[in-house]
Amino acid sequence: MSMGLGDSVWLALALIIPAVTLLAILLLGRRPNLREAATLSGAILLFITVAQLLVDVLAGARPELHLASVAPGLTLALRIDPLGMLFGVVAATLWVANSVYSIGYMRGNDEPRQTMFYACFAIAIFSTMGLAFAGNLFTLFVFYEILSLSTYPLVTHKQNPAAMKAGRVYLITLIGASMILLLPAIIWTGLVAGTLDFKAGGILDGKLGPVALSILLAMFVFGAAKAAVMPLHRWLPAAMVAPTPVSALLHAVAVVKAGVFTILKVVVSIFGIETLSKTGSADWLVYVAGFTIIAASVVALRADDLKRRLAYSTIGQLSYIVMAAALVSPLAVLGAALHIAAHAISKITLFFAAGSIYTAEHVTKVSQMNGIGRRMPWTMAAFAIGALSMIGLPPTAGFLGKWFMLGAASSAANWFAVGVIVVSTVLNAAYFLPILTAAYLKPANGPVKEAPLAMVVALSATALGTVMLFFFPEVPFRLASAILGG
């Protein structure tokens, strides 16, 4: 299936389809049914396009596309490598589910300003595709910033003072960190390495001393504040005021994954794991990420608001990926990449379930969830699967990534990392299992009442996907194994 020209066309389509979807949404703003049809068909067409690209990439192709020469040294160019492909597939697949779910949620809750909502979603997926398939740091940065800007109106969707305040925290943290740290890091890299292109094995070998490498890595890690490594994590719980499909997009598909993807990509294709393990410049990051994992889990344990608990769970799970990247071994990179996919599908299931509970019952607190398992059987079954996956129990997707990360930590004899993974697994169980026991074992106080069909379909599909990924992990596994080859 691999054809020189064909690849580039498919790659271009991955950006064109969301752009056309955006136009269609804006033009059809006054006719909701057609507008939603545009969202859905855009999602499906994008999925087909990305699937086509996936087939080619698995066959060994590396599609490339030159978009524009902006200025000397700055080019907008796309190139798909296995890591980007993995992120792209995850995002495009979950966008289909998220679109179905959004339609159910927005209609079920009679939300205002739906055209702006769907339009911003289309821009967000456009920038996620560009970010996943970026061929160099500049391109990645451009799409990273578009993603921040396009999700700001989604966070502030409710337009009440709380939402506006959260939006400010969100925008200032993400844009501020990316401008103050990420941009100088990119320019510094360009000056030192003479190029911004991603390359397997990195471009910085022998160009900087160990201390300078550590500083540069820190600028990338904290500059990509979307990864929510402490202390730059506050935006994430703040953004919980948004409608639930937005939370799902932010915490599972686009925003946070863009952060950890950036860090993983930079570790693999800018620094190179050889360079980092030789110099030990990433060792400090294991401790920072490990601290974030434990601290976030402890906060989640005490949170009564369901979405807040999920948000802190996300902060912890993201830092698994960052910690694995900091272990700089092939096994750790494999685990990190698998966890990007596994966390995405599990966490979107959990948020879908939370939104479903809110839509049907207007319940937002853990303490109000007694007996809800019997009243919303589909929703809570999906929630249970997502929760097990977050704990890392088989047969769910979450087991895979954790297994390899644990293997990487113990084979590196990094007992701190091993300890963090073990302790945090216990903590994850401690904050998810009480929800399940309350939902299923406490008595119900009302009849069966599920959320709108579109929502139930979407969350059942992602829950099924969470289990399927455990039994059929071939595609992400092959992509993740090929990452270091570029």
């Binding site: 524009a68 902006v70 910033e145 939006g167 501020g176 401008m179 103050i180 941009l183």
Partner: protein
Amino acid sequence: MIAVHGPVLVVILPLFGALVAALVRRPLLAWAVSLIAAIGSFVVAVALLVQVRAEGVVSYRIGGWAPEIGIEYRVDAVNGLILVLVTAIAVLTLVYARRSVLSEIIPERIAWFYAMLMLCLTGLLGMAVTGDAFNVFVFLEISSLSTYVLIALGRDRRALVAAYQYLIVGTIGATFYVIGVGLLYLATGTLNLGLIVERLPEIASPRALIAAEAFIVVGIALKLALFPLHAWLPNAYAYAPSSATVFLASTATKVAVYLLARYIFGVFGVHLGIGSVAIASVLIVLSLAAMFIASAAAVFQNDIKRLLAFSSVAQVGYITLGLALANQSGITGAFLHIVNHALMKGAAFMAVGAIIYRSGTCKLDELSGIGRTMPVTAAALTIAGLGLIGVPGTSGFISKYYLVLGAFEAGFWWVALLIVASSVIAVLYVGRMMEVIWFREPNQRCRGLGEAPAEMLAPMVVLAGMTIWFGLDAELPASLAGAAAHVLLGARP
């Protein structure tokens, strides 16, 4: 004719435009005359830039007199770029101005407005094109005097105070400048900038030169609103008629920056200074102060025009910072930002003018949700705002990229960090505007408004579009700015 007389034509056309506009007295006719003159001047400026790109330097002797006696007009890659920028903005401003002026200025004074606008254009172009230090002073006064009138034509009575304030400051600035030129003349015996440079090595004592530098730099700094000499600017921009603000914000400070660059690189050299303090160090400190303090002041403004005016002071700080870095990337960044900032601030002030045209106010708290009723105008303001922040994909990013590159190359990594850190303050003041215009329900005043008329939208969309275009394809502006930087760096051995 353009090939031979281009350098003088570019100034004469708007001068005659001003004269005719003042004589015809009929608003529409005065507007048409001004527009034609501005277009003519723009065509000549483009032709000049093309010629300069091919030949290097175009020199023109007024009346055929040799430089020692007569005045030389001299166009190179540096001022060629400025001429094109200023005339292009003039054309777009005039297209925009007709409707805006009709609603803001009483009919009997409209012809005067156009006459003054063309006179101001004449002065600015003259400052840019001439190679004679005293001739610069003449044109400086022409542009300043006409600017006082333009500001005073504002619909608010406070415009008179603003004009008076600028009159005092501008006169002091011009006086300082002319004192400096006098000192240079005493030391070298010539007013031609090229000859002054040739004779500088013969000066026995550098003290006269240092004094001249101090007077000239302070004089120009007043005109370009270099922090802390910027106090006149916010009021002037806020109370001038909208079209005048568009024109002044995009051109006046830019030409003054050009002059500053010409003097510090072409005449004095960046290392000249008082004692061990070089002019470059002073400029870096003042530029950084402007970037932070003026940006912070912008955050607290309620009047959008004042907000954008403080932002202008801050953005001029980026330009002077780039000059002070005194390397290829830094100066390229400065000249890119001269162009890019002119485009985005032009678009922003045009959008504000359109909002005033429809709603009658530019107070932020009265403009809730205006994005719903004037989407194109609000979108142009948004794009300009993103450019001010320096979001990638807009031209503002490209100029900041070059500035950061220049700071790294100069070894000032802390300056690089301060450049990007100050951009975050721009997120605050742009974000405030965006929150009000897009994310609030339209209030009583904004609910029934329509979009601005097409002839106001068109130039606004052109400028906003160029902000995006130069953000995605900066080869042309980067090569022009790079050529200007190259000339300036090579100007003095």
